[in-house]
């Protein structure tokens, strides 16, 4: 790595080397039984240079072919974007715990038992349920060095347990599922199975829906499938810089409900979305995005921040070996004080949406979503009475989140990147056949 940096620094004005190595062990179950164990070893080195003021970029899976890596970076620098930033010097990083060595002590047997345990609990409840489960352990090492003396390295552990169940009666199909992730080994599965059992109970009957506007509670999963895509796009500093974000010029303005607050927080201990720094070695920090309904900040990497005359918020992330670009570490919605049960009790006729399928295929930048309810329930007279089918839920997040009926107290993590309570919207467009 040092050799790549030394040689690249000679060929260009500035250079940065990013090395990530990971070892991932997925244990996979199909049709209620263990099917597949994998071991995935990966290493990628990325070289970013600034030559004649322009950015060059190359990646390789081979650490030993320095010549080719440098020549590829130089070739692209000829046409590259004008660099407007300087690489960070040696800086102190916040102390964020994201590695638990216990994860390496978890055996294949334990992982297999964990997966089978989830399946057994669910199939005891519903014997016809066909489950796929995954238990995945990953350890990742990241090192970044640059020609300004900047240097960062960290090790992260991530453990994921996930289960999806499928129940088919004639041509009527029901999909249930839940997953959890942590930097700790997840050896307790009760929370996962409890939630899936609840889904099965609520979906026991099918319930009819009429085509009209009605109150809808979006559960944390529902929020991921309907709201997360538009929000991530809108708070991306790059979208803002281009004038393509609907909230780009509304900093400080009340755009959302006063009770709604959202922050990007990659500093929480033992969360998969956390790290001491971003992929450009800029220290991680908490960035408020919506503060009591007001648009407060956007997410920036080094280059976008320089173009926008602001500073990086430590959100330069590399997606699949690409160049750093603004992306959230972890979105955290501040919980409210209404319980999920109270929200449901308040609804005369409406829906609870757990999962929208294909919701963000439309005009995501404009905040539109429209999706088929993959898992959702009909509420009548304050009670969940069954599952809805062949139903589309559509809306625009800026219209819906301007005034919400309530924000839930039932906050939790969905995957590694979003923590949110349920959100209760008073009028959402529903179409059904």
């Amino acid at each position: 790595m040092e050799e790549i940096l030394a040689r690249a620094s000679k060929a260009a004005e500035e250079a940065e080397v990013f090395l990530v190595t990971s070892e991932e062990t997925p244990v996979e179950f199909e049709t209620n039984r263990l099917k597949h164990i994998q071991s995935k070893q990966n290493s990628t080195v990325a070289l970013r240079i600034i030559k004649n003021g322009r950015i060059g970029y190359a990646t390789s899976t081979r650490l030993d072919d320095i010549e080719e890596l440098i020549s590829n970076a130089l070739a692209t620098a000829e046409f590259g974007t004008e660099a407007r930033f300087t690489l960070p010097p040696l800086t102190p990083y916040p102390e964020i715990k994201i590695f638990n060595p216990d994860i390496e002590k978890v055996t294949l047997e334990q992982m297999a038992e964990l997966g089978q345990g989830m399946i057994d609990i669910l199939t005891r409840h519903t014997p016809e349920l066909i489950c796929e489960a995954r238990v995945i352990r990953t350890v990742t090492d990241v090192t970044i060095i640059n020609s300004h003396g900047g240097q960062a390295d960290y090790k992260q552990s991530v453990f994921i347990a996930a289960i999806e169940g499928q129940l088919i009666r004639d041509t009527d199909m029901l999909f249930v599922g839940e997953h959890q992730s942590s930097c700790h080994p997840l050896l307790e599965i009760d929370d996962i199975t409890r939630r899936v059992l609840q889904q099965l109970e609520w979906a026991r009957e099918n319930a009819p829906v009429s085509t009209k506007s009605m109150p809808v509670v979006f559960t944390p999963h529902g929020i991921v499938s309907a709201f997360a895509g538009p929000l991530i796009a809108a708070f991306n500093g790059k979208t803002v810089l281009e004038g393509a974000s609907p909230i780009g010029k509304k900093q400080g303005q009340l755009v959302f409900d006063k009770r709604l607050s959202l922050r990007d927080d990659p500093t929480i201990d033992y969360r998969p979305g956390s790290s001491p720094c971003d992929d450009e070695a800029v220290p991680s920090e908490v960035t408020p995005l919506i503060a009591e309904g007001k648009v407060s900040n956007f997410l920036y990497d080094l280059q976008t921040a320089a173009l926008a005359n602001t500073r990086s918020t430590g959100n330069g992330h590399r997606n699949q070996g690409g160049q750093p670009s603004p992306a959230p570490g972890a979105f955290v919605v501040t919980p409210g004080d209404t319980s999920f049960d109270d929200m449901v009790r308040d609804i005369k006729e409406g829906l609870v949406v757990e999962q929208l399928m294909g919701a963000t295929q439309g005009n995501v930048l404009g905040g539109d979503f429209s999706g088929n309810v993959l898992l959702g329930y009909k509420v009548e007279g304050g009670k969940i009475i069954g599952r809805v089918k062949d139903t589309m839920v559509s809306g625009n997040i800026y219209q819906l989140l301007k005034h919400v009926a309530a924000i839930g107290s039932d906050t939790r993590w969905i995957g590694g990147f979003l923590s949110t309570p349920s959100i209760y919207c008073s009028s959402v467009s529903v179409a059904s056949r």
Partner: protein
């Protein structure tokens, strides 16, 4: 480090004589370039090289899989895969028999993307981007281009050794229009196998795209509900892929008795005019190849013939377990993944109805065009049109905001009441499944009419 040629001979030795029912390995070396623009600015340009391999082992019905970037200690990697498989395996291994193949597949090539200098690629993209950005009321653009060249050597414990190469080119152009806090976008995706020519000459399409994004700003939203819907060849292709194609992937079905029942061969799925094919054997299409990633030769498969279910897509394992013939549809997106059952080029065969006849007797309906995306969950699908118009009294009427169509595949296939005579293949898509995305696929269809389909709206 040695090239994959040399490594392949060591690995071929290492996978022999293992205490396993079956062992295979794949080695890949490849390079790719990408260029992206956002607005007038070139956003990024990069070059990547990747070399890696994997070993997959089967013991008593259980699979082990190891992938790696370094080629040290190959025998250890093989043993790890075999041991994992043994840990899993408690049944009997079943694989449909195939003849071992030893072949170097020559790559047929149009214009090699690798031979086009970076400066020329950039010039072409500059031209498209300038057209989009120069259009009045266009706020910004997104252009992403990538090409890759990959060589793969497949080996298995029965003595197969297959060397294949492919060069993929993919381009997406998107125009984003904004006014009064409203943002609308329009995009197209294109691609080609072994031919850079697929992304040349798109200047007028770039302009149309910009115009459509701007027009969408003042377009009304469709009222949600059920409509008679006409799909253009691109969207009908996506529909075929999403709504039906995934159900034909045998890995969804083979161990699931209820689904097997639903997907019983011979069952009627549509009217007699409906024929759906999947085949990797057509030259130049993105989903094409000679051998799949299990070393099985590609075949042409009718999935629906004259409205009846007649076939499905298989890996060696699903074929054996369902007592059907392997079809050569086990594909892996790269060496970091084991092959799973995937589509290749999937299309509805043309019939005889002209477009004019198809819309002629529709009083109020929706004409949905162009691909924006689609997902499926077995019986339910949603797919979105990048462009849509009302049909009024047999004529194409006003432009609509993008629409999302959804439905139940079983009802919808039956409701296809007209199939056009104008088959066209869509090369822009990539398919995602089991964390492997985007896999090069193509799909196509003539114009089709669905007598009733649910459309989301406000």
């Amino acid at each position: 480090m040695a090239g994959i040629e040399a490594i392949s001979h060591q690995l071929a030795e290492a996978i022999k004589g293992q205490d396993a029912d079956y062992v295979e390995a794949r080695l890949t070396e490849g390079e790719s370039s990408s260029i992206t623009y956002r607005g007038r600015k070139l956003e990024s340009i990069g070059r990547n090289t990747a070399t890696g391999g994997n070993v997959r082992a089967l013991v008593k019905g259980g699979w082990g899989f190891v992938c790696f970037n370094d080629f040290d200690n190959l025998p250890e990697k093989v043993s790890l895969a075999v041991n994992q498989a043994r840990f899993v395996g408690k049944e009997t291994s079943q694989l449909a028999p195939i003849e071992p193949a030893v072949e170097i597949v020559p790559s047929t090539i149009g214009e090699d993307p690798k031979a086009v200098p970076l400066a020329e690629k950039k010039q072409l993209l500059d031209e498209y981007n300038d057209i989009i950005c120069g259009y009045p009321k266009i706020q910004t653009s997104m252009v992403s281009y990538s090409d890759s060249h990959r060589k793969t050597i497949f080996l298995n414990s029965a003595g197969s050794r297959i060397e294949q190469e492919r060069r993929d080119t993919a381009l997406r152009l998107a125009a984003i229009a904004a006014s009064n806090g409203e943002v609308q976008q329009a995009g197209i995706s294109l691609g080609g196998l072994n031919d850079f020519g697929a992304v040349r000459g798109l200047h007028s399409q770039a302009e149309q795209l910009a115009k459509r994004a701007v027009d969408l700003l003042s377009a009304p939203q469709v009222k949600g509900g059920e409509y008679t819907v006409v799909l253009d060849p691109i969207l009908a292709g996506v529909f075929t892929h999403e709504a039906f194609g995934h159900l034909s992937e045998a890995d969804f079905v083979y161990e699931n008795d209820s689904l097997r029942e639903i997907m019983t061969l011979g069952k009627t799925f549509g009217e007699a005019h409906l024929n759906i094919v999947d085949t990797a054997t057509l030259p130049g299409l993105r989903g094409s190849y000679k051998y799949d990633d299990e070393g099985v030769p590609a075949t042409k498969n009718y999935l629906i013939r004259e409205g009846k279910l007649v076939g499905r897509l298989h890996s060696r394992e699903t074929a054996a377990k369902m007592n059907e013939k392997p079809t050569g549809n086990a594909r892996a997106i790269n060496y970091r993944h084991p092959p799973i059952v995937r589509m290749t080029n999937t299309y509805i065969e043309p019939s005889t109805t002209s477009f004019g006849d198809m819309i002629g007797d529709i009083k109020e309906g929706v004409y949905a065009k162009n691909w924006y995306g689609g997902v499926t969950s077995m019986e339910m699908f949603t797919f979105s049109a990048g462009e849509a118009y009302m049909i009024r009294n047999g004529k194409i009427a006003e432009l609509l905001r993008p629409v999302v169509l959804t439905g139940n595949v079983f009802n919808t296939l039956v409701h296809i009441d007209a199939i056009g005579n104008d088959l066209d293949m869509n090369q822009g898509g990539g398919c995602g499944k089991g964390g492997q995305s985007p896999l090069p696929c193509s799909n196509g269809s003539p114009h089709i009419r669905i007598s009733t389909c649910l459309i989301g709206g406000r």
